[in-house]
């Protein structure tokens, strides 16, 4: 199954678009899987799948020509807000908490306001978004339950997770 992490690498700190780095992986059977930039990753599958789609052709063209793909930026944060994916992924906050159910979107859209009030709401009460160990951040189906909330509260009490609420956490 394709998950968010197939293409995105949220561990890379302030990496703005989180796209995976270039790397070629040779599997046991000799197949070379290419993770990486412009179209290379997509073309692993789309060499054969839906080649007639105009959107896929854009990717194929980019792969061919080496020009960057002009992706539309959907989630817009203002320039004066500095945000780190790394911190959130390390705290095990799910992708869906901010990006919504991407698996159910035909066309990707922004479902949360990404406003400061919305950020702070979660920073003040993060229990329902902190996933327990073993649950992938990319799991789209996961929802909080009493056990996960209790575990999250424990992590907060232990200061393993300290969501900041002061200005310079995001503004500088």
């Amino acid at each position: 199954q394709i998950t968010c992490a197939t293409c995105h690498d949220p561990h890379s700190a302030e990496n703005h678009h989180q796209l995976r780095r270039v790397s070629d992986v040779e599997l046991m059977d000799g197949t070379v899987v290419t993770f990486g930039d412009e179209g290379k990753l997509c073309m692993n599958c789309h060499k054969g799948v839906r080649t007639d789609s105009s959107e896929i052709q854009k990717i194929a063209n980019a792969h061919e020509s080496g020009d960057p793909i002009r992706w539309a930026k959907v989630h817009l944060l203002p320039d004066y807000a500095y945000f780190s994916h790394q911190a959130h992924v390390n705290a095990n906050v799910g992708c869906a908490s901010c990006h919504g159910r991407m698996d159910q979107m035909e066309v990707v859209r922004q479902v949360e306001p990404l406003s400061m009030g919305w950020c702070l709401e979660c920073h003040r009460n993060p229990e329902t978004h902190l996933r327990p160990e073993g649950v992938a951040v990319t799991d789209m189906e996961w929802t909080a339950d009493d056990a996960s909330i209790a575990a999250a509260r424990q992590r907060l009490a232990n200061k393993e997770v300290q969501p900041p609420e002061h200005c310079s956490a995001c503004h500088r």
Binding site: N15, H17, D37, E38, W71, L76, Y80, S84, H166, S168
Partner: protein
């Protein structure tokens, strides 16, 4: 604000130490009182076009046009979220993650020597220059010049095209800069531009002709450089064209230094001083902490010798003899002002007093001059002190003194037993050992004799900076083919038949050699911004009609020089990674002194006449911020206040108060300075401590570059026309006359006045060691009151409201050491570069609207009158860097009506720009005046090039908001994140603020005060927050500025310890216990 405590000039009695910031303050004028009563200076809080008394022709509108030099970016002004695209790298470079900056090691060149740096690359753009701790030229520190290189690289006015005579001479004289919107980097599109291909097609044919004559008639004038690749290319040119003539010239002449060592040793040697090991240093006209060669390394070594944190420590002693106040003089324990001509005599007299063998007879002729100060023979005391140091002493002479003086200094150092201890020698690279004055003179002679068919000015600008008496411009006009290579359309470019644009060191390959011989590779941080630009070595290959890329040229040099047995790629990658080539440092040489030659040279030196009111001495200096003019078009350097005068955007005729009084002039009055038949006119600035009957002028101003170089075009007067080849440093017999006109000079010194409270505290070493009860805290008024009750200051401090609990987590703090801080301004530029601080221009600074987040305050100190010399003629100087104090009980926060400035749990005083509505109440309530207000949209119209120099990790502020020092919170956040990623807490030293990183003196300590092992905690000590009782003692020198206000600043200071000579101490260093 009722209780003014300013000492009027006449009221201080001998022995009272007075601090003042400027002459107006000392004079207690009504104007100054008015400044004190205002929150901002005159005009700062008035309407946008209030010009008050300031009649400067540079309007704000013009300034914005000039500095921005840009077109507004289309489509960036929408107030709705614009649609955006993500364009990832098609082929992402190795090791690059978008958003994460990388550092690359490279090297700059100063005075021909290498200066290793690390450059931050933010998404492929070089955005910040930092020191390379491994490189001997920087040792981790960096100065304002190296940091300002980023702005030189992205200067939209740089030359981009090859030009031919018609364009170079004709098109750039017209002033088309009034609307300020045609300088978009393509504003010269109406001109017909050439590419390198055009030059090549000309040169190919021309070179054939030259080669036919073995290069006869081909001359090259280049700047002195120790670069091995450039040396190799010059050698190649010489072997291909045996009759080619290569000349060297730089306005920052070091000829005397070279000649002095040739005189003393028979060969050219470079002198290296280890100030860290020296107990006593006597500097004669040497600005080794400021503009003289290798100042970065010397600052680090000097600071090591001045570091003191407790009573067990010790500091070196520095004597300075100089005509004009320099950074070095301002750090002296004893300073003797003396005209430049007489300084040689002082060195000879010192040699006599020390009994240097073989030359005492010669030296005695020079002892007639009086070195008396306050009834004490100053020089005799220095001699005694030097001798007593038993070899741990050295004498330093600056490049402005004659060869005989340098030779005498070598003899003195040998006699003192300093060689091998505090003084070492290495061979001067051949390329730097020439006589540049003779070289440029022979070139002019050849041009006048019609022997020069083609002259290539390679990275030089002789029309501006060649000695005026040589008549370079007239001789140049006689040359048939005049090729100029430079980064700007400068004075020489305009007079040339071909101009080739040069690349910046951040965009080309080259190599450098540091003063100790350590080689380093210069690697590009970015591709050429303009495809026609070339480096020095590349242009030499063009001249040989075998154009090669710099990469290939530098590799070829090192193919033969790399250590044998190492594969080239391994060697190359390591050299690039380290920023230096290990093992290339020279071994120290032990040259033999030729005593008789030195004695003969001293005998042949006539005793210099003391300047008089009728025969004034003019001193020529590199500007402390623009050097010889290479930073003239750099707004950061133009706006950086000079270290002593705090002048911005101007140079001046510097003189002492008595000289100005005698002329009947005051600051900003224009005078004419006449040397022989040559004259210049410039405004007067009174520099307390300047030698009498002498004036000093700086180079770098009054430039006549192309109209695109509008930053350089505005300010100052050109001092080069006064400088002759016979007297390149000091011209005697000048006259200075009043013209009756004025040119308003602007100094940043009047702003942020702190009303005579003990802001800078100092003591002398002997008292500090003897009086074990004294601590720097004692000077606080509240501490004095507490002492009467048998308590400490912190025990008396009570807050009106419940104080926050700062006992948990990280709590950031900074300690600034006033002992090692030299006042060099590196921290100021570091902050500007790191935090995207806008430059505001002269007029706005006059209005008190400068934007520097940290400022370097300079106070003059000294006894009110001594020896009949008024205080303001011969004072001492202290420097104090003032960033935000990050008060725990921050007064700014309590008055903000919109909670735009609030405290973070880590003790930072946060500023949220988007909340700020610009009431400026916070600034009103800040006791330190460290908050800055954006009166205008200084960041609105930047050229695309200039935008590339911004740090993407810091918000660019718009009009109408307050801003201030954040302790580089972006660095704190990324340091915390990195530590957390490694599963640990932040260690001491993990996070370095920009000012701390840059500081060549290592005067800034930053860290977490909840970490008992942190350096900052050890300096501060700890106090029980409830009772105010001392828990662990910090340094006795530690104090907080205005601690009596109970604002509990996190930024604190270590008091200055001076080390006066006991026999001179009562003479010019009176009661220092402030």
């Amino acid at each position: 604000m009722t209780d003014m405590q300013i000492q009027p000039r006449s009221s201080g009695s001998a022995g009272d130490k007075v601090y003042w910031r400027s002459l107006d303050q000392l004079a207690d004028t009504p104007e100054f009182q008015d400044v004190l009563r205002r929150e901002f200076a005159v005009g700062a809080d008035e309407g946008p076009f209030a010009d008050g008394s300031l009649a400067d022709p540079v309007s704000r509108r013009r300034f914005l046009g000039v500095v921005a030099a840009s077109v507004a970016m289309a489509g960036m002004t929408s107030c709705r979220k614009p649609g955006r695209e993500i364009l990832p790298y098609a082929k992402r470079p190795e090791g690059l993650v978008p958003g994460i900056p990388n550092f690359y090691a490279t090297s700059f060149e100063r005075h021909g020597y290498g200066l290793g740096v690390l450059v931050r690359s933010s998404d492929g753009r070089p955005t910040k220059v930092e020191g390379n701790p491994d490189h001997p030229g920087s040792q981790g520190g960096v100065d304002s010049f190296a940091q300002a290189e980023v702005l030189n690289l992205f200067d939209p006015a740089r030359s981009k095209w090859v030009r031919t005579p018609h364009e170079a001479e004709g098109h750039d004289d017209g002033d088309h800069s009034h609307d300020g919107h045609d300088h978009d980097g393509h504003g010269d599109e109406h001109a017909h531009h050439h590419t390198l291909a055009d030059f090549r097609s000309f040169w190919g044919e021309h070179a054939l002709k030259l080669a036919g004559n073995e290069g006869a008639g081909l001359h090259v004038l280049m700047a002195p450089t120790a670069s091995p690749t450039v040396a190799r290319m010059v050698a190649e040119a010489r072997s291909a064209l045996p009759k080619i003539q290569v000349h060297t010239w730089s306005a920052l002449v070091r000829d005397h230094e070279v000649a002095g060592s040739k005189l003393a040793f028979g060969e050219a040697f470079d002198t290296h001083h280890d100030f860290a090991k020296a107990k006593v240093v006597a500097a004669f006209d040497s600005d080794f902490l400021g503009t003289d060669a290798t100042s970065l390394a010397q600052t680090r070594s000097w600071a090591k010798g001045r570091k003191i944190v407790d009573r067990d420590g010790s500091v070196s002693r520095l004597y300075v003899v100089e005509p004009t106040y320099t950074l070095t003089g301002s750090n002296a324990d004893h300073r003797f002002r003396l005209s430049g001509a007489e300084i040689g005599s002082a060195v000879f007299a010192l040699a006599a007093a020390l009994g240097v063998p073989g030359m005492d007879a010669a030296a005695k002729a020079h002892t007639a001059g009086s070195f008396e100060k306050n009834g004490k023979n100053w020089l005799a005391a220095v001699a005694k002190d030097l001798r007593a140091a038993n070899g741990e002493a050295c004498v330093v002479v600056g490049p402005r003194q004659s060869a005989a003086v340098h030779a005498a200094a070598h003899a003195i150092n040998a006699h003192l037993g300093a060689n091998g201890k505090t003084v070492t020698y290495t061979r001067t690279p051949a390329a730097l050992a020439g006589d540049t004055l003779a070289s440029v003179r022979s070139l002019v002679d050849a041009m006048n004799a019609g022997q020069v068919d083609t002259l290539v000015c390679l990275g030089t600008n002789p029309i501006l900076d060649a000695p005026a008496d040589l008549g370079f411009a007239d001789a140049y006009a006689k040359v048939a083919h005049r090729v100029h290579c430079g980064m700007w359309i400068d004075e020489t470019a305009k007079a040339s038949s071909w101009h080739i644009p040069m690349s910046h060191p951040l965009e080309h390959w080259s190599d450098t050699v540091a003063a100790d011989g350590t080689a380093a590779i210069v690697q590009p941080l970015i591709d050429r911004l303009y495809p026609n630009t070339r480096s020095t070595a590349e242009i030499l290959s063009e001249l040989l009609t075998e154009p090669k890329e710099g990469d290939a040229l530098v590799r070829a040099t090192w193919q033969t020089r790399k250590p044998s047995g190492m594969p080239f790629e391994t060697f190359w990658q390591k050299a690039l990674h380290d920023g230096l080539i290990a093992g290339t440092a020279q071994d120290a040489a032990t040259p033999t002194l030729a005593a008789s030659a030195i004695a003969a040279a001293i005998s042949a030196t006539p005793v210099a006449a003391t300047p008089t009111k009728q025969s004034i001495e003019v001193g020529f200096r590199a500007c402390p911020t623009l050097l010889d003019g290479r930073y003239s078009n750099n707004p950061w350097q133009q706006e950086l206040p000079s270290p002593i005068e705090k002048l911005v955007w101007d140079n001046a005729v510097l003189m002492c108060r008595s000289a100005a009084d005698a002329l009947g002039v005051y600051n900003s009055d224009v005078v004419q300075v006449k040397v022989g038949e040559r004259t210049v006119e410039g405004p007067v600035w009174i520099q307390p401590g300047h030698a009498e009957n002498a004036v000093t002028v700086w180079f770098g101003y009054g430039r006549k570059m192309s109209s695109e170089c509008a930053v350089a075009e505005i300010p100052g007067f050109d001092a080069y026309p006064l400088r002759g080849s016979d007297a390149p440093h000091y011209a005697a017999g000048a006259t200075v006359t009043k013209t009756g006109r004025t040119h308003t000079l602007v100094s940043s010194q009047e702003h942020g006045v702190m009303e005579g409270r003990p802001l800078v505290r100092e003591n002398d070493l002997a008292t500090f060691k003897a009086d074990t009860q004294w601590t720097a805290v004692d000077a606080s008024p509240l501490a004095k009151a507490a002492k009467l009750q048998g308590k400490t200051e912190s025990q008396l401090m009570h807050s009106l409201w419940t104080e926050r609990d700062y006992s948990q987590g990280y709590q950031w703090a900074m300690v600034i050491d006033l002992n090692t801080c030299t006042g060099c301004n590196a921290c100021v530029t570091a902050c500007v570069s790191e935090n995207n601080i806008p430059m505001v221009g002269k007029e706005q600074i006059a209005n008190g609207r400068e934007m520097f987040w940290n400022r370097m305050d300079r106070y003059f100190t000294g006894a009110a009158t001594q020896d009949g010399v008024p205080l303001d003629d011969d004072p001492q100087v202290v420097h104090q860097m003032v960033p935000c104090m990050q008060c725990e009980n921050a007064p700014c926060e309590s008055v903000c009506p919109v909670a735009a400035t609030v405290h973070s749990p880590e003790g930072l005083n946060d500023m949220a720009y988007n909340r700020c509505i610009g009431t400026r109440y916070c600034s009103n309530n800040c006791p330190y005046k460290v908050r800055r207000f954006n009166w205008f949209n200084f960041n609105k119209d930047h050229s695309p090039q200039r935008q590339m120099a911004f740090n993407p990790d810091v918000t660019i502020r718009a009009r109408g908001v307050m801003e201030k020092c954040t302790y580089c919170v972006q660095r704190i956040n990324s340091g915390k994140r990195a530590a957390k990623g490694d599963g640990r807490t932040v260690r001491d030293g993990d996070i370095r603020t920009a000012c701390q990183q840059a500081c060549p003196a290592d005067a800034i300590t930053f860290g977490n005060i909840n970490d008992p092992e942190a350096a900052v905690t050890k300096l501060r000590g700890t106090v029980d927050r409830k009772t105010g009782d001392l828990v662990t003692a910090g340094s006795p020198l530690h104090y907080a500025m205005l601690s009596e206000l109970n604002v509990k600043p996190r930024t604190t200071y270590l008091a200055k310890i001076r080390n006066p000579h006991p026999e001179l101490s009562c003479a010019d260093a009176l009661d220092h216990r402030h």
